[in-house]
Symmetry: C2
Subunit: 330 residues, 2 copies
DNA sequence: CTGAAAGCGCTTACAG
DNA sequence: CTGAAAGCGCTTACAG
């Protein structure tokens, strides 16, 4: 690959001048600019980004760490993140944390080693404390998705889990359901815990006793929704509605109800969270709470861009609310 | 952030020595190794990857370009790619080509500028020629997913589209279907074309006349499957089976049939391609052809790793075959 | 076993 | 307007 030195030789100028025309900085006589351009052109020269990053002490890249690449969900997130980054002329470096806190920390470190200008972190396994420790240890700014970390002086954007859950549960309550089962996400995860707690709280507020047997812990996937629902059915507990903590599990649950000969919504209503496209193409169509993942991602990326430019952005957490989407399953 | 110079000062040794202990190269007295380690430890020193890459002329990174982040499909691909890369101690840099050939070429260029050691390209919009031109222009080796490029002296791994389609169509034929409709992927895409051609060929081989009205062009998404199937229904053409070129569209089609009061599979059979998890959780369960995306990705990444290490790998295309998965929809 | 020096490909004051 | 020189943070022959 040709280097700046090759361009210098061909154009008969110094590196300083070539650098000036590459970056459009400083003054360069029009005629010499042309000579340099021609040289770059004929050599098919492109500057080495690594060398630029080293010299500039900025790499023009945004590191993105995802806990997993599961679900439709992350596709939307990635697409939005990639778009924003591209439109801002920055590279997006995506890493999979594999839902393991050690690997996620390792991922952060390696992005720092690569001198990313900012890191966007969507972690399920890191605790609040882990994240705060991380940010104090490294100098690269972190934008956290899906955690409420405002008070810690960090930059974050999150989804109001409690509000979303309330929307779902209150909808079921209004439909007259009293015995509402809950298929949770992993209770190791922050989101899983918050949604489950909000479920319990919503019942309490409606003066409904909480039956521990109506909670089954899932893991977010279709198969888990199916299996948990089966457990619920064979447990003998009575329930007339299921709150699945995400759409995939809700779809799995509907299938299990169908296989057990239980009609949805007549004999059992089902509601999820996420508003995945899929929900509209199953029978019956799934009621859910919309999670505005594009908007959330967009907000996080805007913060990230500002931080990458070194702008002093105010720390704090930007919170997004869900919206109830009622379809045929409730 | 501390640099190697800081470590030198603290440890009282030269950069060469620190570099040796970082990399475990050359001879270093045990006692001085210890001193250096302690210095690195207490400074929380980590080498700057950019500087290392510049000095070594290799960046320890694999560039991955995806045409889009749509569908469940890409999640599996990304997960597998990230795993292989991580286990090999390499960074994966993921870029979205946004299904636009110019953007995809731009993406390749920027990965080259970043001095990725190898590029894995999963493109829908680049033509065969585009890719070959690209590889002749740049010196970074490219591994192509989902194209048969063996004869061009490139490295590629692909899926036997024709065989997969035959499996699906022959299955329908065996079930006694004669009028088989086809909901295609975008016919701008290589995959879309191949599957559609294979559909036609399979019919011809069975001495069945091809009715152009039984082909509707979709775009791979659930909504498109639904819409195309509706068109088919209202067209008045008669058909007893639908071959949808991917599972998402098959699911959409099944929903459309249901909404039109057409029973699956009694009145109309439906089969897809991909074997997405989703297919097992809809009613009726979807027959499909399994596309071994993990295995494909794994193979591509192994090629990439070998190329990144500078090993002379034999060029050519490694081809994967699908497997018929019969469920209730046919 | 260890260090001085040159080099990787850029950028940026500083002189002129 | 342009160039010589130092610097970004590493690595690696080459001497010793």
């Amino acid at each position: 690959m040709p280097t700046i030195t090759d361009v210098c030789k061909l154009a008969g100028v110094s590196k300083a001048t070539v650098s000036r025309v590459i970056n459009g900085t400083g003054q360069v006589k029009e005629s010499t600019r042309k000579v340099v351009f021609d040289a770059m052109e004929s050599l098919q020269y492109r500057p080495n980004s690594l060398a630029q990053a080293l010299a500039n002490n900025k790499s023009n890249s945004i590191g993105l760490i995802l806990s997993t690449f599961d679900g439709n969900y992350f596709g939307s997130l990635l697409r939005e993140a990639a778009n924003v980054a591209h439109d801002a002329g920055m590279q997006l470096i995506v890493t999979d944390g594999r839902n393991d806190s050690n690997l996620e920390i390792e991922a952060v470190n390696s992005l720092v080693d690569r001198r990313c200008d900012v890191i966007v972190l969507y972690s399920r396994s890191l605790t609040q404390k882990d994240i705060i420790d991380l940010q104090t240890r490294i100098s690269v700014p972190i934008v956290v998705i899906n955690r409420d970390l405002g008070e810690a002086g960090l930059h974050a954007v999150c989804f109001d889990q409690q509000f979303a859950t309330q929307l779902a549960i209150n909808h079921l309550l209004q439909k007259g359901h009293q015995n509402i089962a809950c298929i949770t996400l992993s209770l190791q995860s922050e989101t899983g815990l918050l949604r489950h707690q909000a479920y319990q709280q919503a019942l309490l507020e409606a003066d409904i006793a909480i039956s521990p047997n109506l909670t089954i812990e899932g893991d977010s996937r279709l198969a888990s929704g199916y299996a948990c629902c089966q457990k619920l059915i064979t447990s003998g507990e009575s329930f007339s509605a299921i709150f699945a903590c995400n759409d995939d599990m809700a779809v799995g649950a509907i299938k299990a109800l169908h296989d057990a000969g239980i009609k949805v919504p007549e004999q059992c209503a089902v509601i999820g969270i996420d508003n995945e496209p899929l929900g509209q193409y199953i029978e019956p169509q799934l009621s859910t709470v919309e999670l505005p993942i594009e908007a959330i991602t967009h907000a996080a990326m805007q913060m990230a861009l500002a931080l990458a430019k070194g702008l002093e952005t105010l720390t704090g957490t930007q919170e997004f609310k869900g919206k109830l989407v009622v379809r045929a399953s409730t």
